[in-house]
Point group: C2
Chain length 198, copies 2
Protein backbone atom coordinates (compact mmCIF):
# COMPACT_ATOMS: atom_id res chain seq x y z
CA UNK A 1 0.00 0.00 0.00
CA UNK A 2 2.96 2.34 0.60
CA UNK A 3 4.08 1.78 -2.99
CA UNK A 4 0.52 2.36 -4.18
CA UNK A 5 0.42 5.72 -2.36
CA UNK A 6 3.83 6.74 -3.76
CA UNK A 7 4.60 8.61 -6.98
CA UNK A 8 5.41 5.32 -8.70
CA UNK A 9 2.62 4.97 -11.28
CA UNK A 10 2.44 1.23 -10.69
CA UNK A 11 0.75 -0.41 -8.94
CA UNK A 12 -2.16 1.87 -9.83
CA UNK A 13 -5.90 1.78 -10.28
CA UNK A 14 -5.88 -1.37 -12.45
CA UNK A 15 -4.07 -3.40 -9.81
CA UNK A 16 -6.35 -2.04 -7.10
CA UNK A 17 -9.35 -3.12 -9.20
CA UNK A 18 -7.96 -6.68 -9.27
CA UNK A 19 -7.21 -6.61 -5.54
CA UNK A 20 -10.76 -5.43 -4.84
CA UNK A 21 -12.13 -8.30 -6.92
CA UNK A 22 -9.87 -10.78 -5.11
CA UNK A 23 -11.13 -9.50 -1.74
CA UNK A 24 -14.69 -10.03 -2.98
CA UNK A 25 -13.89 -13.62 -3.96
CA UNK A 26 -12.23 -14.16 -0.55
CA UNK A 27 -15.42 -13.01 1.19
CA UNK A 28 -17.46 -15.49 -0.87
CA UNK A 29 -15.03 -18.19 0.27
CA UNK A 30 -15.53 -17.09 3.88
CA UNK A 31 -19.32 -17.32 3.57
CA UNK A 32 -18.91 -20.79 2.01
CA UNK A 33 -16.50 -21.89 4.76
CA UNK A 34 -18.94 -20.65 7.43
CA UNK A 35 -21.72 -22.72 5.79
CA UNK A 36 -19.82 -25.96 5.23
CA UNK A 37 -20.46 -28.66 7.81
CA UNK A 38 -23.39 -26.77 9.38
CA UNK A 39 -26.40 -28.99 10.04
CA UNK A 40 -28.83 -26.18 9.28
CA UNK A 41 -27.42 -26.01 5.75
CA UNK A 42 -26.94 -29.72 5.10
CA UNK A 43 -29.16 -29.68 2.02
CA UNK A 44 -26.94 -27.18 0.19
CA UNK A 45 -23.56 -28.69 1.09
CA UNK A 46 -22.77 -29.84 -2.48
CA UNK A 47 -23.62 -26.40 -3.90
CA UNK A 48 -21.53 -24.70 -1.21
CA UNK A 49 -18.57 -26.99 -1.92
CA UNK A 50 -18.78 -26.08 -5.62
CA UNK A 51 -19.09 -22.39 -4.72
CA UNK A 52 -15.96 -22.50 -2.56
CA UNK A 53 -13.98 -24.25 -5.28
CA UNK A 54 -14.95 -21.56 -7.80
CA UNK A 55 -14.41 -18.60 -5.48
CA UNK A 56 -10.93 -19.81 -4.55
CA UNK A 57 -10.08 -20.31 -8.25
CA UNK A 58 -11.23 -16.79 -9.12
CA UNK A 59 -9.40 -15.31 -6.13
CA UNK A 60 -6.17 -16.79 -7.54
CA UNK A 61 -6.95 -15.55 -11.06
CA UNK A 62 -7.65 -12.03 -9.78
CA UNK A 63 -4.28 -11.97 -7.99
CA UNK A 64 -2.59 -13.17 -11.23
CA UNK A 65 -4.29 -10.29 -13.08
CA UNK A 66 -3.08 -7.86 -10.41
CA UNK A 67 0.48 -8.95 -11.18
CA UNK A 68 -0.13 -8.92 -14.94
CA UNK A 69 -1.50 -5.35 -14.76
CA UNK A 70 1.74 -4.03 -13.28
CA UNK A 71 3.70 -5.94 -15.98
CA UNK A 72 1.80 -4.56 -19.00
CA UNK A 73 1.94 -1.10 -17.44
CA UNK A 74 5.71 -1.33 -17.06
CA UNK A 75 6.05 -2.59 -20.66
CA UNK A 76 4.02 0.39 -21.87
CA UNK A 77 6.20 2.80 -19.88
CA UNK A 78 9.28 1.27 -21.54
CA UNK A 79 7.80 1.94 -24.99
CA UNK A 80 7.17 5.59 -24.01
CA UNK A 81 10.92 5.89 -23.32
CA UNK A 82 11.90 4.63 -26.83
CA UNK A 83 13.87 7.13 -28.97
CA UNK A 84 11.95 9.26 -31.49
CA UNK A 85 14.68 11.21 -33.26
CA UNK A 86 14.35 9.78 -36.79
CA UNK A 87 11.28 8.86 -38.85
CA UNK A 88 12.26 5.17 -38.55
CA UNK A 89 12.49 5.47 -34.76
CA UNK A 90 9.15 7.27 -34.63
CA UNK A 91 7.44 4.60 -36.78
CA UNK A 92 8.89 1.75 -34.68
CA UNK A 93 7.86 3.50 -31.46
CA UNK A 94 4.31 4.13 -32.70
CA UNK A 95 3.84 0.53 -33.83
CA UNK A 96 5.11 -0.87 -30.53
CA UNK A 97 3.06 1.65 -28.61
CA UNK A 98 -0.17 0.50 -30.25
CA UNK A 99 0.63 -3.12 -29.47
CA UNK A 100 1.53 -2.29 -25.84
CA UNK A 101 -1.66 -0.23 -25.43
CA UNK A 102 -3.84 -3.13 -26.58
CA UNK A 103 -2.10 -5.44 -24.12
CA UNK A 104 -2.54 -2.83 -21.37
CA UNK A 105 -6.23 -2.57 -22.31
CA UNK A 106 -6.80 -6.32 -22.30
CA UNK A 107 -5.84 -6.81 -18.63
CA UNK A 108 -8.42 -4.47 -17.03
CA UNK A 109 -10.97 -5.86 -19.51
CA UNK A 110 -10.25 -9.37 -18.18
CA UNK A 111 -10.46 -8.02 -14.63
CA UNK A 112 -13.92 -6.66 -15.45
CA UNK A 113 -15.04 -10.01 -16.92
CA UNK A 114 -13.78 -11.70 -13.76
CA UNK A 115 -15.64 -9.18 -11.55
CA UNK A 116 -18.86 -10.36 -13.18
CA UNK A 117 -18.00 -13.89 -12.05
CA UNK A 118 -17.36 -12.59 -8.51
CA UNK A 119 -20.78 -10.89 -8.55
CA UNK A 120 -22.42 -14.16 -9.64
CA UNK A 121 -20.61 -16.04 -6.85
CA UNK A 122 -21.75 -13.40 -4.35
CA UNK A 123 -25.32 -13.98 -5.52
CA UNK A 124 -25.04 -17.72 -4.78
CA UNK A 125 -23.42 -16.98 -1.40
CA UNK A 126 -26.21 -14.52 -0.50
CA UNK A 127 -28.94 -16.97 -1.61
CA UNK A 128 -27.60 -20.20 -0.12
CA UNK A 129 -24.99 -19.28 2.49
CA UNK A 130 -25.14 -19.07 6.27
CA UNK A 131 -27.51 -16.24 7.14
CA UNK A 132 -25.13 -15.15 9.92
CA UNK A 133 -22.60 -14.27 7.20
CA UNK A 134 -24.98 -12.87 4.59
CA UNK A 135 -23.65 -9.32 5.08
CA UNK A 136 -20.28 -10.62 3.87
CA UNK A 137 -21.91 -11.82 0.64
CA UNK A 138 -23.29 -8.28 0.36
CA UNK A 139 -19.83 -6.77 0.81
CA UNK A 140 -18.54 -9.22 -1.84
CA UNK A 141 -20.98 -7.89 -4.46
CA UNK A 142 -20.14 -4.28 -3.54
CA UNK A 143 -16.47 -5.08 -4.14
CA UNK A 144 -17.30 -6.79 -7.46
CA UNK A 145 -19.12 -3.61 -8.50
CA UNK A 146 -16.21 -1.33 -7.48
CA UNK A 147 -13.85 -3.72 -9.27
CA UNK A 148 -15.86 -3.61 -12.52
CA UNK A 149 -16.18 0.17 -12.55
CA UNK A 150 -12.49 0.65 -11.67
CA UNK A 151 -11.47 -1.75 -14.42
CA UNK A 152 -13.67 0.19 -16.86
CA UNK A 153 -11.79 3.41 -16.10
CA UNK A 154 -8.55 1.61 -16.90
CA UNK A 155 -9.95 0.18 -20.14
CA UNK A 156 -11.06 3.72 -21.09
CA UNK A 157 -7.57 5.24 -20.57
CA UNK A 158 -6.09 2.83 -23.10
CA UNK A 159 -8.98 2.98 -25.56
CA UNK A 160 -8.44 6.77 -25.68
CA UNK A 161 -4.94 6.24 -27.13
CA UNK A 162 -5.55 3.21 -29.35
CA UNK A 163 -5.87 4.12 -33.04
CA UNK A 164 -8.19 1.27 -34.01
CA UNK A 165 -11.79 2.41 -33.96
CA UNK A 166 -13.25 -1.05 -34.55
CA UNK A 167 -11.30 -2.51 -31.62
CA UNK A 168 -12.21 0.47 -29.41
CA UNK A 169 -15.91 0.39 -30.22
CA UNK A 170 -16.12 -3.36 -29.68
CA UNK A 171 -14.14 -3.31 -26.44
CA UNK A 172 -16.02 -0.38 -24.93
CA UNK A 173 -19.41 -1.83 -25.90
CA UNK A 174 -18.49 -5.15 -24.23
CA UNK A 175 -17.30 -3.20 -21.20
CA UNK A 176 -20.66 -1.40 -20.94
CA UNK A 177 -22.42 -4.74 -21.17
CA UNK A 178 -20.36 -6.12 -18.28
CA UNK A 179 -21.02 -2.99 -16.19
CA UNK A 180 -24.77 -3.32 -16.78
CA UNK A 181 -24.76 -6.97 -15.73
CA UNK A 182 -22.66 -6.33 -12.60
CA UNK A 183 -24.84 -3.36 -11.59
CA UNK A 184 -27.99 -5.51 -11.92
CA UNK A 185 -26.42 -8.22 -9.76
CA UNK A 186 -25.31 -5.62 -7.23
CA UNK A 187 -28.89 -4.36 -6.86
CA UNK A 188 -30.43 -7.82 -6.51
CA UNK A 189 -27.77 -9.22 -4.17
CA UNK A 190 -27.98 -6.15 -1.93
CA UNK A 191 -31.78 -6.56 -1.80
CA UNK A 192 -31.36 -10.25 -0.85
CA UNK A 193 -28.75 -9.34 1.76
CA UNK A 194 -30.87 -6.71 3.53
CA UNK A 195 -33.90 -8.99 3.29
CA UNK A 196 -32.13 -11.98 4.85
CA UNK A 197 -30.55 -9.76 7.53
CA UNK A 198 -34.09 -8.80 8.56
CA UNK B 1 -6.45 -12.62 2.56
CA UNK B 2 -6.14 -16.35 3.37
CA UNK B 3 -7.47 -15.67 6.86
CA UNK B 4 -10.26 -13.56 5.36
CA UNK B 5 -11.29 -16.46 3.08
CA UNK B 6 -11.18 -18.96 5.95
CA UNK B 7 -13.99 -19.96 8.29
CA UNK B 8 -12.62 -17.61 10.94
CA UNK B 9 -15.33 -14.92 11.18
CA UNK B 10 -12.69 -12.20 11.64
CA UNK B 11 -11.39 -10.43 9.72
CA UNK B 12 -14.74 -10.05 7.97
CA UNK B 13 -16.73 -7.52 5.99
CA UNK B 14 -16.11 -4.65 8.43
CA UNK B 15 -12.35 -4.99 8.17
CA UNK B 16 -12.58 -5.29 4.39
CA UNK B 17 -14.63 -2.07 4.35
CA UNK B 18 -11.80 -0.29 6.21
CA UNK B 19 -9.16 -1.80 3.91
CA UNK B 20 -11.13 -0.63 0.87
CA UNK B 21 -11.28 2.88 2.31
CA UNK B 22 -7.54 2.82 3.05
CA UNK B 23 -6.84 1.78 -0.57
CA UNK B 24 -8.96 4.71 -1.74
CA UNK B 25 -6.95 7.11 0.45
CA UNK B 26 -3.71 5.57 -0.89
CA UNK B 27 -4.85 6.27 -4.46
CA UNK B 28 -5.55 9.91 -3.56
CA UNK B 29 -2.01 10.06 -2.17
CA UNK B 30 -0.69 8.60 -5.44
CA UNK B 31 -2.52 11.24 -7.50
CA UNK B 32 -1.12 13.94 -5.18
CA UNK B 33 2.41 12.52 -5.42
CA UNK B 34 2.15 12.42 -9.23
CA UNK B 35 1.11 16.11 -9.21
CA UNK B 36 3.70 17.47 -6.75
CA UNK B 37 6.70 19.18 -8.34
CA UNK B 38 5.10 19.19 -11.81
CA UNK B 39 5.50 22.54 -13.59
CA UNK B 40 2.12 22.20 -15.29
CA UNK B 41 0.46 22.11 -11.84
CA UNK B 42 2.61 24.72 -10.08
CA UNK B 43 -0.38 26.88 -9.21
CA UNK B 44 -2.04 24.16 -7.16
CA UNK B 45 1.06 22.91 -5.31
CA UNK B 46 -0.09 24.21 -1.87
CA UNK B 47 -3.52 22.57 -2.29
CA UNK B 48 -1.92 19.31 -3.40
CA UNK B 49 0.48 19.33 -0.43
CA UNK B 50 -2.50 19.78 1.90
CA UNK B 51 -4.38 17.02 0.08
CA UNK B 52 -1.50 14.57 0.48
CA UNK B 53 -1.17 15.33 4.17
CA UNK B 54 -4.88 14.63 4.71
CA UNK B 55 -5.03 11.49 2.56
CA UNK B 56 -2.06 9.97 4.37
CA UNK B 57 -3.64 10.80 7.74
CA UNK B 58 -6.93 9.15 6.75
CA UNK B 59 -5.13 6.13 5.29
CA UNK B 60 -3.56 5.56 8.72
CA UNK B 61 -6.88 6.07 10.50
CA UNK B 62 -8.62 3.57 8.19
CA UNK B 63 -5.97 0.97 8.96
CA UNK B 64 -6.43 1.64 12.70
CA UNK B 65 -10.18 1.09 12.26
CA UNK B 66 -9.47 -2.17 10.40
CA UNK B 67 -7.59 -3.38 13.49
CA UNK B 68 -10.24 -2.02 15.84
CA UNK B 69 -12.99 -3.84 13.93
CA UNK B 70 -11.37 -7.24 14.51
CA UNK B 71 -10.93 -6.34 18.20
CA UNK B 72 -14.56 -5.37 18.89
CA UNK B 73 -15.69 -8.41 16.92
CA UNK B 74 -13.52 -10.68 19.04
CA UNK B 75 -14.81 -9.02 22.23
CA UNK B 76 -18.39 -9.62 21.09
CA UNK B 77 -17.61 -13.30 20.33
CA UNK B 78 -16.24 -13.65 23.88
CA UNK B 79 -19.50 -12.31 25.33
CA UNK B 80 -21.46 -14.86 23.24
CA UNK B 81 -19.45 -17.59 24.99
CA UNK B 82 -20.36 -16.34 28.51
CA UNK B 83 -22.32 -18.83 30.62
CA UNK B 84 -26.12 -18.53 30.76
CA UNK B 85 -27.12 -21.20 33.25
CA UNK B 86 -28.57 -19.03 36.04
CA UNK B 87 -30.73 -15.89 35.91
CA UNK B 88 -27.76 -13.89 37.25
CA UNK B 89 -25.50 -15.23 34.50
CA UNK B 90 -28.14 -14.51 31.88
CA UNK B 91 -28.62 -10.93 33.09
CA UNK B 92 -24.86 -10.29 33.19
CA UNK B 93 -24.45 -11.77 29.71
CA UNK B 94 -27.29 -9.69 28.25
CA UNK B 95 -25.95 -6.45 29.74
CA UNK B 96 -22.44 -7.10 28.47
CA UNK B 97 -23.82 -8.18 25.10
CA UNK B 98 -25.65 -4.88 24.63
CA UNK B 99 -22.50 -2.94 25.50
CA UNK B 100 -20.37 -5.05 23.16
CA UNK B 101 -22.90 -4.69 20.32
CA UNK B 102 -22.85 -0.90 20.60
CA UNK B 103 -19.04 -0.93 20.44
CA UNK B 104 -19.17 -3.30 17.47
CA UNK B 105 -21.67 -0.94 15.80
CA UNK B 106 -19.58 2.18 16.44
CA UNK B 107 -16.54 0.96 14.47
CA UNK B 108 -18.22 0.43 11.07
CA UNK B 109 -20.09 3.68 11.69
CA UNK B 110 -16.74 5.47 12.07
CA UNK B 111 -15.47 3.67 8.96
CA UNK B 112 -18.46 5.05 7.04
CA UNK B 113 -17.82 8.60 8.32
CA UNK B 114 -14.20 8.21 7.23
CA UNK B 115 -15.27 6.94 3.78
CA UNK B 116 -17.07 10.26 3.30
CA UNK B 117 -13.76 12.01 3.93
CA UNK B 118 -12.07 9.72 1.37
CA UNK B 119 -14.76 10.61 -1.18
CA UNK B 120 -14.17 14.33 -0.53
CA UNK B 121 -10.41 13.85 -0.96
CA UNK B 122 -11.04 11.95 -4.21
CA UNK B 123 -13.08 14.92 -5.42
CA UNK B 124 -10.16 17.30 -4.79
CA UNK B 125 -7.75 14.86 -6.48
CA UNK B 126 -10.03 14.57 -9.53
CA UNK B 127 -10.50 18.35 -9.77
CA UNK B 128 -6.92 19.52 -9.18
CA UNK B 129 -4.63 16.52 -9.71
CA UNK B 130 -2.49 15.47 -12.66
CA UNK B 131 -4.84 14.62 -15.52
CA UNK B 132 -2.66 11.61 -16.38
CA UNK B 133 -3.71 10.09 -13.03
CA UNK B 134 -7.33 11.23 -12.95
CA UNK B 135 -8.62 7.66 -13.42
CA UNK B 136 -6.97 6.83 -10.08
CA UNK B 137 -8.99 9.58 -8.41
CA UNK B 138 -12.03 7.91 -10.00
CA UNK B 139 -11.06 4.53 -8.56
CA UNK B 140 -10.58 6.23 -5.17
CA UNK B 141 -14.18 7.46 -5.10
CA UNK B 142 -15.47 4.04 -6.22
CA UNK B 143 -13.62 2.49 -3.27
CA UNK B 144 -15.01 5.15 -0.91
CA UNK B 145 -18.50 4.21 -2.11
CA UNK B 146 -17.91 0.46 -1.65
CA UNK B 147 -16.43 1.21 1.79
CA UNK B 148 -19.46 3.25 2.89
CA UNK B 149 -21.99 0.66 1.71
CA UNK B 150 -20.01 -2.22 3.23
CA UNK B 151 -19.73 -0.36 6.52
CA UNK B 152 -23.51 0.24 6.43
CA UNK B 153 -24.16 -3.51 6.19
CA UNK B 154 -22.01 -3.99 9.28
CA UNK B 155 -23.80 -1.23 11.17
CA UNK B 156 -27.11 -2.88 10.25
CA UNK B 157 -26.10 -6.30 11.63
CA UNK B 158 -25.46 -4.79 15.06
CA UNK B 159 -28.45 -2.45 15.04
CA UNK B 160 -30.62 -5.53 14.47
CA UNK B 161 -29.54 -6.94 17.86
CA UNK B 162 -29.31 -3.75 19.91
CA UNK B 163 -32.31 -3.23 22.21
CA UNK B 164 -32.22 0.57 22.23
CA UNK B 165 -34.61 1.98 19.65
CA UNK B 166 -33.49 5.59 20.10
CA UNK B 167 -29.85 4.66 19.51
CA UNK B 168 -30.78 2.46 16.54
CA UNK B 169 -32.97 5.05 14.86
CA UNK B 170 -30.38 7.79 15.31
CA UNK B 171 -27.48 5.64 14.14
CA UNK B 172 -29.27 4.26 11.08
CA UNK B 173 -30.57 7.72 10.07
CA UNK B 174 -27.01 9.13 10.28
CA UNK B 175 -25.80 6.14 8.27
CA UNK B 176 -28.35 6.85 5.53
CA UNK B 177 -27.24 10.48 5.47
CA UNK B 178 -23.59 9.43 5.00
CA UNK B 179 -24.57 6.99 2.22
CA UNK B 180 -26.49 9.72 0.41
CA UNK B 181 -23.56 12.13 0.60
CA UNK B 182 -21.03 9.52 -0.56
CA UNK B 183 -23.28 8.44 -3.45
CA UNK B 184 -23.62 12.07 -4.61
CA UNK B 185 -19.84 12.51 -4.49
CA UNK B 186 -19.37 9.23 -6.37
CA UNK B 187 -21.61 10.46 -9.19
CA UNK B 188 -19.97 13.87 -9.49
CA UNK B 189 -16.37 12.61 -9.19
CA UNK B 190 -17.01 9.90 -11.80
CA UNK B 191 -18.45 12.54 -14.14
CA UNK B 192 -15.37 14.73 -13.61
CA UNK B 193 -13.08 11.75 -14.14
CA UNK B 194 -14.62 10.67 -17.46
CA UNK B 195 -14.74 14.32 -18.58
CA UNK B 196 -11.08 14.98 -17.81
CA UNK B 197 -10.06 11.65 -19.39
CA UNK B 198 -11.65 12.90 -22.63
Amino acid sequence: MDKLASKSPEPGGGSVAALTGALGAALVSMVANLTLGKDKYKEVQPQIEALLKESEKIRGEMLDLLQKDTEVYRALSDVYKMPKNTDEEKAARTAMMQEALKKACQVPFEIALKSLEVARLAERAADLGNVAAVSDAGVAVLLAQACAQSAALNVKINVNSIKDDTYNRKTWASMQDVLTQVAALERSVMATTYKRMG
